[in-house]
Subunit: 443 residues, 2 copies
């Protein structure tokens, strides 16, 4: 029996042309013939398999016995039990609870429902959908009440949309880089396919006053989370969402009905929606005047800063995902913009000195996650990986320096779980050490 030698993938590819500094490569070249990309081993010990009458593989125990009975609602393998949301307040003490999405362990444009992020100010209400109503009232010809049954008869629309907390990534306001992973840094954004009724259809039916400028949205959870929404947005792409990735909304994402405002900060997309009041001025509610009106370095505060701006971050590699050896890797990550479609993502492996254009996974959808991918040959030396995104309105993701110049920086190192400020959309940098370890750095 021959034993094949493990090939040295680093050596074979010296002919691949770099597209930017420190080993960034044209991704298409890696999809061609004869590329030993990522350390596949020759089938050592399996040489006898090359013949036409191959010997059977060695059977593991699971190939020798009947498997598990199917379940009515299937769950991930027990070997994936570490792939969970991180909880900020796992005992549910009387303060806000956060559950963050593990982006470094996922791969796709959809966040599976079990792992969609949640922020809850007093836990998830256990709402009986048969008793829940949505009221539209205020400056309307006729106030209307909708049961879940009646909403289900309206024309439906389906779209992908990311939802992001205004405080996501706020640890990057810290004076020094907080040493944690992408889940703690950026885990308060997720993306799902939502299905529901266009809000404009319901507002038209109620006969809203054309002079109304605002709408107050209120949830049925214990704190009755309440936010002011411009009528312009309500009449544009706002949705009364009933389904999330095909099934009814998750309890942590607004079951049985939420307001979806694609591209706007998560807190406005009121969960457990029970009423919409059409008015002519904003309500200046708790969340919009306190949490989501951050004070800026110039002493002023953002007021009604709704948009989640163009942003990207690398998920593979990222802290916790070790590079085991020099060689070829794929750098990949997520980009999105509350304004529209992602048009370009640039990647750097030398801390921003040189950049190359990443491949974007089609279809690229407005206000939804877009995956970007870049081929990279790591030579084993220290490197700094960054990504930077552009959207179809011409917006470009700012550097960290640009963000903190306008939005502030903490005087000390922020703690994990803290929210030094709001609306960080700057560049994230991952430092790769010679050992292959990945750390959060500023560059």
């Amino acid at each position: 029996m021959r034993i094949f030698k493990r090939r040295n993938s680093g050596e074979k590819h010296s002919t691949l042309q770099p597209v930017a500094g420190n080993g960034l490569l044209d991704r298409r070249a890696l999809l061609g013939r004869g590329i030993a990309f990522a350390g596949a081993m020759s089938a050592g010990g399996a040489a006898s398999l090359t013949g036409a009458a191959a010997e059977p593989l060695k059977d593991e125990q699971w190939s020798l016995e009947p498997g598990e009975v199917l379940s009515p609602y299937q769950q991930p393998s027990k070997f994936e039990k570490k792939v969970t949301r991180i909880l900020s307040n796992p005992r549910g003490e009387p303060r806000t609870q956060h559950a963050r999405t593990p982006h470094h362990m996922l791969n796709g444009t959809i966040t599976p429902n079990g792992l969609h992020f949640t922020i809850s100010h007093q836990g998830n209400p256990d709402i009986d959908p048969d008793k829940h109503k949505l009221i539209i009232h205020g400056m309307v010809k006729q106030p209307l009440a909708f049961t879940l049954d009646s909403l289900s008869r309206y024309p439906m629309v389906t779209r992908a949309a990311f939802v992001e907390c205004g405080g996501n990534s706020s640890l990057l306001f810290s004076k020094e880089p907080v040493q944690t992973d992408v889940q703690n840094l950026h885990g308060l954004v997720s993306c799902a396919e939502w299905t529901g009724v266009k809000l404009s259809v319901l507002l038209e039916e109620a006969g809203f006053d054309k002079n109304a400028k605002w709408m107050i949205a209120e949830g049925a959870d214990a704190p009755a989370v309440s936010r002011s929404v411009p009528m312009k947005k309500a009449l544009d792409d706002a949705m009364i969402a009933l389904y999330q990735n095909g099934e009814r909304l998750m309890p942590g994402n607004g079951y049985p009905v939420r307001l979806l405002l694609p591209g706007y900060e998560g807190n406005m997309q009121v969960k457990y929606l029970r009423r919409l009041k059409v008015v002519n001025q904003p309500s200046m509610s708790y969340y919009e005047t306190r949490t989501y009106s951050p004070v800026l370095p110039n002493g002023k505060a953002y007021r009604f800063f709704f948009l989640q701006e163009v942003k990207s971050f690398i998920t593979h590699p990222s802290p916790g995902l070790m590079l085991k050896e020099p060689g070829l890797y794929e750098i990949s990550g997520i980009a999105y913009s509350g304004t529209g479609r992602i048009t370009k993502v640039m990647v750097s492996a030398d801390g921003g000195k040189s950049w190359a254009k990443a491949a974007l996974q089609a279809p690229v959808l407005s206000k939804a996650f877009t995956l970007f991918r870049m081929a990279w040959r790591w030579n084993g030396s220290p490197a700094v990986l960054q990504s930077r995104a552009w959207d179809d309105a011409g917006n470009v993701q700012p550097t960290r320096a640009e963000v903190v110049a306008t939005r502030g920086e903490t005087k000390t190192v922020a703690r994990v779980g803290g929210f030094p400020s709001q609306h960080y959309n700057g560049i994230t940098s991952w430092g790769i050490a010679g050992s292959g370890e990945v750390k959060h750095v500023y560059a």
Copy 2:
């Protein structure tokens, strides 16, 4: 306090122009101003809410107490516990188990992972991903072994794709319409976003023989399900799939790695994939020569009938979903084709006498679920609803009569759970009774 009268939505819309017989309407007209689509009630008892200083709504219990603590991996609300897969063999007796997707309770192009259909011939193997290997061997320059870790370093691709069992919908081969719901009739098809490595990249790396015409794919489950796959398909859009809707594959869908062959029958898309052997002739394995070689009325049998052809069915309304009263409804459903993109879906409300073009939800993706929607005013008389799909290769979904003429019909009424034959892609008809009850009919 004024009590508003419930409006009669049927009467208000007599000016809407029909687009086909028996009440089919232009959907766009229903998205306009002042349409009372689906029986929203005036906010009777809530008249005091019309003022600027609205009285608070009556609080239900869940608005008065803290909610439930967030969980690391969230689950649907307990009020959705009926939304599950139907199991054909819930005790896991030593025969095939089926778990069918409840399409009538879902809405979207994505099947959530908990509800993706599964067929398992000896239960789900409980595979340790650290011990699992995928071998590529046979007519290759160098056989290769891939661990899950090494596969994870390859360039990834992401795409939506439906997977459908060749036996899905086979109850429609029954001589008389089987009285059951869309889950039992059509529940062996689902659609997910899959992420993994293009198989062509791995075959190139192994240096496959260009004269090889076939590849044998084998699973690591107890029956070692084995199928022959044309190399042409393997080199086209075949994927070694690792992720399903962003997270690792579900145990019932091939964890930790499956072969994805977009548009081909589900059984070929071997789950728990442990080897691919490149060969020059098919293996004539159990499933391809027995189950998936149905005998036809002309005495011949289909051999290597791989494609899941263009198809559609209405999910709303469908059996079990009662129409409560005459009025406006949205008819919606799912269309897909193993050949490519859906280009058109026509809907009939009079059993095929007249047809109107349904709206297709963008983006329309190749070999993935496409949602179609049609507005309908039900006048309370009996009606027969049908849908019919076209794809971008010009294929048209056949009538049931056309399918049974070429592929056969049972002599007696088929039983739920039986598989009279394979590859039914004909039209499905729902009969609406005057009572609003929906039944499976042939028309």
